[in-house]
Amino acid sequence: MARKIGEVILDLRHISLSFGGVKALTDISFDVREHEIRAIIGPNGAGKSSMLNVINGVYRPQQGEIIFQGEHRKDMDTHAAAAAGIARTFQNIALFKGMTVLDNLMTGRNLKMRCNFLQHALWWGPAQREELEHRRKVEEIIDFLEIEHIRKTPVGRLPYGLQKRVELGRALAAEPKMLLLDEPMAGMNVEEKQDMCRFILDVNDQFGTTIVLIEHDMGVVMDISDRVVVLDYGRKIADGTPDEVKNDPEVIAAYLGTQH
């Protein structure tokens, strides 16, 4: 592969998160290197989504440290994460259902737009220029994801597989450094999965985007990821290349159950 894996871009140290008395994550540390595809796997309820939520500031961990691009933080906040170049998709699609595909993608670029509401109200001039400029970028992504035919369709009317793709598009529209994907292939058929895999690899390859993904399909995970971290009951039980993880006895136990 042409891409080169770089330095550590995200470093999570001793993250612990709990809701009330319920522990979701306990003392988890791992890192993500630039340009790599990093998978988080684990049984249901292992804390995978919580992990992503910690990375982009939806949840605030009680303990630990998050270092993104050399900047040390106790916790992220969503705006800082977005501004630093972290974009994501959600397990249960979180698109803006009343808006068209085009508007969803344009919204993804919100942070890059500089005009204020008064300029927008006047429209002619800076606002229109800005709109056109971003429209061009968004159209590139629309081409990339092969969704030209539905650009003016309200996303609420699209089938599930396409919605997943649009959500990826919305995240890409922000031109992120790091992309967090929460089960991008859940509920898809084989063809849709293949398409999605191709898009993820292309994004990683063409744009050099670092990718952290949660996925249940082990075949896919083993195929596309560079390193895998395994969670179980909110703890990290393994971390390494797909092959290392695959043969780890604790991982096998977590997935298949232990003998007592």
Partner: protein, 358 residues
């Protein structure tokens, strides 16, 4: 057959971004504006101006304001009338207290005052949503009307808070005929509708809709919820405030705080439900519809009663009105939650394909 976009290719994104991308729509709106600005003033009588056209335009503006907040930003408000009241009283005070204050400037200042009050009552929206917020906006409704009644300063020490506004005068011209007032209101409303359309089709509007549709995702994209919601409150209140000022200056001439009651707030809410939540056009259609219903009933009910030999007094008519309003709201929410604007759109799409069914 005439309504076809065949052959109209868009070769640039700029062309694709127009408010009316289809040529026939552009011609249509031009004809409509010409009609409203030229034909109507020449032909309509005073009853039309005073009882139908002027209130229609003013309520359209108020509905537009509420639609920005509720339809686009998704924050339900039951206090629009109170923000109209703020606008009306603010404009009055700026006029009365500052010598030589231009009327248009006092309208703008009235809008800004309403926007400030709107932000204040919008603050709870940062922590609460849905019904909770709706109830919180009731606080604005009752508190503001009470203040206007009880603080004599606000109504320049007139009895029970009634204010009588001076004639509107711009650059030496006095707007004392219904025609002239109609044209003034029409100009302001058209301009503000255009500005609103521009806002909702750019990233300001997209941020509002993003917060409305999925606030967590909006936050993750980097949209600041607080700023976005408060901006919606401010702009919505600005629109309601200007509508209130026009209501006092160009429609009634004298208003009292109790005129801006909870009932009026509901009426404005009904306008956007019937017209179309999240649609500029819908605000106008809804305002027309809700204003015409009572007029229609006033005509039809006596006629019906004569036909059926049943006595109908004015109280009955007003009760029937309540029932019809209630039924309409339930009907639209059940059958077409996107209101008349959506029906209009469906109609146009059908026409585009006609005579083929698909």
């Amino acid at each position: 057959m005439i309504y076809r976009e065949t052959g109209q290719f868009k070769t640039s994104y700029a062309a694709d971004q127009q408010i009316f991308p289809i040529r026939q729509d552009r011609i249509g709106i031009a004809i409509l504006l010409a009609f409203a600005f030229v034909v109507v003033p020449l032909t309509a009588g005073n009853y039309w101006f005073n009882a139908i056209l002027i209130p229609f335009l003013i309520f359209s503006l108020a509905a537009l304001g509420l639609n920005i907040l509720t339809g686009y930003a998704g924050q339900l408000s039951l206090g629009s009338a109170a923000f109209m009241a703020v606008g009306a009283y603010a404009a009055y005070n700026f006029q009365v207290r500052i010598e030589g204050m231009p009327v248009l400037l006092s309208f703008i200042l009235a809008g800004l005052t309403a926007a400030g009050v709107g932000i204040l009552f919008g603050l709870p929206s940062l922590r609460i949503k849905g019904f909770y917020l709706a109830v919180a906006t009731l606080a604005a409704q009752f508190f503001i009307v009470w203040c206007l009644t009880k603080f004599p300063y606000l109504s320049n020490y007139s009895a029970s808070g009634v204010i009588s506004v001076p004639n509107v005068e711009i650059l030496g011209y006095t707007f004392d005929t219904p025609q002239s007032r109609y044209l003034l209101v029409l100009s302001i409303v058209s301009l503000m509708a255009l500005l609103a359309k521009n806002m909702v089709r750019s990233s300001t509007g997209r941020a509002w809709m993003a917060v409305r549709d999925m606030d967590v995702a909006a936050e993750v994209i980097g949209i600041r919820l607080m700023r976005t919601k408060l901006l919606a409150f401010a702009i919505s209140s600005f629109y309601c405030g200007v509508a209130g000022a026009l209501y006092a200056f160009c429609y009634l001439g004298s208003v009292e705080p109790d005129g801006f009651s909870l009932d009026l707030s509901f009426k404005i809410l009904f306008m956007i439900i019937v017209g179309g939540v999240g649609s500029i056009l819908g605000s106008f259609l809804g305002a027309a519809f809700i204003l015409l219903v009572p007029i229609f009933l006033d005509i039809v009910l006596p006629w019906l009663s004569e036909l059926l030999h049943l006595p109908v007094d004015s109280a009955t008519v007003s009760h029937m009105q309540l029932m019809v309003f209630g039924e309409l709201i339930m009907f639209f929410l059940i059958v077409e939650p996107h209101g008349l604007a959506r029906l209009w759109q469906i109609g146009k799409e059908k026409l585009r394909l006609w005579p083929f069914p698909h």
